[in-house]
């Protein structure tokens, strides 16, 4: 599904990603771990097409298409989804309106007919219930005044509505208490099947108790320095990132 080859990228003129290669197939869950500043979030931004990132080299294909030929919205429509570490607030735009807009963009891209607000409400209500989100979230402005946990739930709600092929979860566990973490992780797990794939970016092993990865990669200074199974995450947790050298 996703093939990253020797990717190099910079943000604000500073090289952050220094040669990453990674292949993600359908049905797989990959976890990318690493200390602050190792390039985890930058990698997710590069893949999603954040305009602040500059590609310095390498290639990325997504279902055989050169990802860099696609605008951010085209990547999204192709099935690439980024759950933000810091979701953006948009005052005055209701969550319901926003979600319907995104859903309809997907439908119209697939050549399907767009849904009207009434039909969409049914879809939305069902998804919101599974995430334990109250009705007020429909009318509230996108992420505006949401707590940290509410924002993260809102990201997973979007994921549930758009059903993307590849979801990149950027530190979806940060700022969550244990109950919220469980709800968010449950939401993600329910959406997982053998046709889609997940990249779970996290600082802590804790999240991986809830979302079980097939592969764990350790990122350090813009490079993957170790890859393995969930065992690797456990070892990492025990020894800390200072001891990365031991893992390599």
């Amino acid at each position: 599904m996703l093939k990253i080859k020797n990717l190099k990228a910079a943000i604000n003129g500073k090289e952050i990603i220094k040669g990453i290669s990674l292949t993600v197939n359908s049905g797989e869950t990959h976890s990318i771990m690493g200390p602050n500043g190792s390039g985890k979030s930058t990698l997710s931004k590069v893949l999603a097409g954040d305009p602040s990132c500059e590609i310095l080299g390498g290639s990325v294909t997504f279902n055989g298409v050169n990802l860099f030929d696609l605008e951010p919205e085209e990547r999204a429509l192709a099935g690439l989804f980024l759950a933000y570490q810091y979701p953006v607030e948009i005052p005055g735009l209701s969550n319901r309106e926003f979600l319907r807009m995104a859903y309809n963009a997907k439908l119209s891209n697939e050549g399907a007919e767009e849904v009207d607000p009434i039909d969409f409400d049914e879809i939305l209500n069902e998804k919101m219930q599974t995430l334990g989100m109250g009705e007020k979230f429909r009318e509230r402005s996108v992420n505006a005044g949401f707590s940290g946990g509410e924002k993260k739930k809102n990201e997973i709600l979007q994921m549930a509505i758009l059903q993307p092929a590849l979801s990149i979860l950027d530190e979806i566990d940060s700022g969550l208490d244990i109950d919220a973490l469980r709800v968010v992780a449950d939401g993600v797990n329910k959406l997982k099947n053998d046709k889609n794939a997940l990249i779970v970016i996290t600082h802590y092993q804790r999240l991986l108790d809830y979302i079980k990865p097939d592969f764990v990669h350790v990122l350090s200074e813009g490079k993957i320095v170790a890859s393995g199974t969930s065992e690797l995450a456990k070892r990492l947790e025990a020894r800390g990132y200072n001891d990365i050298a031991v893992l390599v």
Binding site: N66, Y84, I90, P91, L93, L162
Partner: protein, 487 residues
């Protein structure tokens, strides 16, 4: 792979300067235009042509004398090129002599013009639930649904007709809210006002339909000085909307109007404006309308309410402060505004709420959006007089910047003379960030739709107060104006 520059189409790179103004056409019609220049004789000539009674002529002459003693105000945060008041024609009317108020005699070119503007006047095509008064340059050319309204007791006609047919009402209220000598432009308007709309809603009447006036400036050398007077009697309600467009000319045109509203006991007036005068060339700033307007309403009776909603998208310069004088106890004044400036446009707009009666309440919601090299200023005054015990005001001013060459300014003035008043002011300035755009794009939403959604969200509180028929239109207009502000 695309180059970095192509990929990184941040907002600054994509603010383009070609914006089409689709109302810029000129109607080719013979006009009766009096020679340029302003003098007592010109004022007399206007009055004579309009066959006015003496009380109006005297009103005009008094105003003209005041005007000659006054100077142009300079306090606005605007760069106004010098206006040569002797280089303007103060009266221009289509030559085909239409009988006042008779739609059948209106020249076909004019009907066609309004058709093209989406304001059909002929019986079979007109909007069924909205009555329209169409003003072309200096005269009102047609008023629809007059008979139906009259059956409900509502008078809806041009101010010229009102002067002829309802002189007592005009005498009583004309100049009662905006006195002749209130300011330079009100004196000018009072001296040379050409036409405009008159509305009277009798007691205990809910006006059965939306009323609206559509103003069209066609002549390149004439100014438009219209005068609107709306009186809503006890326990009555009226909702009124004005729209404006003008052709595309290289020269600046002056539009100096006065709108006076009077709400008696328990009455409610809702006044909405969608202003789309020609804004001038977006690249050079050449041409466009100077929109210098005095709009004021008095809540004369207890428990009355006046609500202003304005969507200001046009004009080279907009300078206006729709205001409420809250005299009646428990009266309410509201002001909802979206002012969009693009290209070289300048706007200095806001509201004044003057609390005089007890427990009066006012609300100001102002949204300024600036793009390109435009400048957008909110200026507001909330004054609480010693008599206004328990008065309350809430003001919220938000500015949204698109790009980094435009400007947004806020000048709120608050004067309270009583300890029991509660006055709140909140202000914010934000930029549409690349982050917000990217977030929506990451959900598959196109950049343009994303921009529209963000701007729309910003304006939501105001759009919600427009009459249903017009809120969609206003949204569309705003999107049209911003079309090229996003790549």
């Amino acid at each position: 792979m695309k180059s970095k520059a192509e990929k990184q189409n941040g907002l600054n790179d994509v603010i383009e300067d070609s914006r089409e103004y689709k109302y810029g056409f000129v109607t080719d019609i013979e006009t009766e235009t009096i020679p340029k220049g302003l003098s007592e004789n010109v004022v007399r000539e206007i009055s004579k042509r309009k066959e006015e009674p003496d009380f109006i002529l005297n009103f005009r002459l008094k105003a003209y004398r005041r005007f000659t003693e006054m100077d142009e105000p300079k306090w606005a945060n605007l760069k106004i090129p010098p206006i040569d008041f002797s280089d303007i024609s103060y009266y221009s009317a289509p030559k085909t002599k239409a009988k006042l108020g008779s739609i059948d005699d209106v020249a076909p070119e004019i009907l066609e013009t309004f058709d093209k503007l989406g304001i059909p006047l002929m019986e079979q095509k007109r909007l069924s639930n909205v009555a329209v008064d169409a003003v072309f340059d200096s005269v009102s050319v047609a008023t629809t649904h007059k008979e139906k309204l009259l059956a409900a007791g509502v008078i809806f006609c041009s101010i010229s007709e009102a002067i002829r047919d309802y002189p007592e009402l005009v005498k009583k209220y004309l100049g009662s809210v905006v006195p002749i000598g209130d300011n330079f432009y009100s004196a000018l308007n009072s001296a040379v006002f050409s036409d405009g709309t008159f509305v009277y809603v009798p007691p205990d009447t809910h006006c059965p339909m939306e009323l609206s006036t559509y103003f069209r400036i066609n002549n390149s050398e004439s100014g438009q000085f219209e005068r609107t007077l709306i009186i809503c009697d006890k326990n009555s309600h009226v909702s009124y909307l004005e729209g404006c467009t003008a052709p595309q000319f290289d020269t600046r045109q002056l539009h100096a109007a006065i709108v006076e509203l009077v709400a008696l006991e328990n009455a409610e007036i809702k006044y909405s404006t969608v202003q789309n005068w020609y804004p001038g060339d977006p690249e050079t700033g050449k041409g466009g309308i100077h929109n210098f307007v005095v709009k004021r309403g008095t809540c004369l009776g207890d428990n009355s309410k006046i609500s202003w909603t304005q969507i200001e998208t046009g004009s080279a310069i907009t300078w206006k402060y729709p205001s409420c004088i809250l005299k009646g106890d428990n009266s309410v004044g509201e002001f909802y505004s979206v002012a969009l400036t693009t290209g070289h446009q300048q706007a200095d707009t806001g509201s004044k709420m003057i609390h005089i009666g007890k427990n009066t309440k006012s609300l100001i919601i102002s949204k300024g959006i600036s793009a390109d090299v435009s400048s957008n200023t909110y200026r507001g005054l909330v004054r609480v007089s010693p008599t206004a015990k328990g008065a309350r005001n809430y003001t919220q001013c938000d500015s949204l910047l698109l790009g980094d060459k435009c400007g947004a300014h806020t000048f709120p003035y608050i004067e309270t003379a009583t300890g029991t008043a509660q006055v709140e002011h909140e202000a914010s300035t934000s930029k549409i960030s690349d982050d917000q755009l990217f977030y929506l794009q990451q959900r598959g939403i196109s950049r343009e739709t994303a921009m529209n959604a963000i701007v729309n969200g910003f304006c939501k509180d105001v759009f919600n107060h427009l009459p249903m028929e017009f809120s969609v239109e206003a949204e569309r207009l705003l999107m049209l104006k911003l079309e090229n502000s996003v790549g």
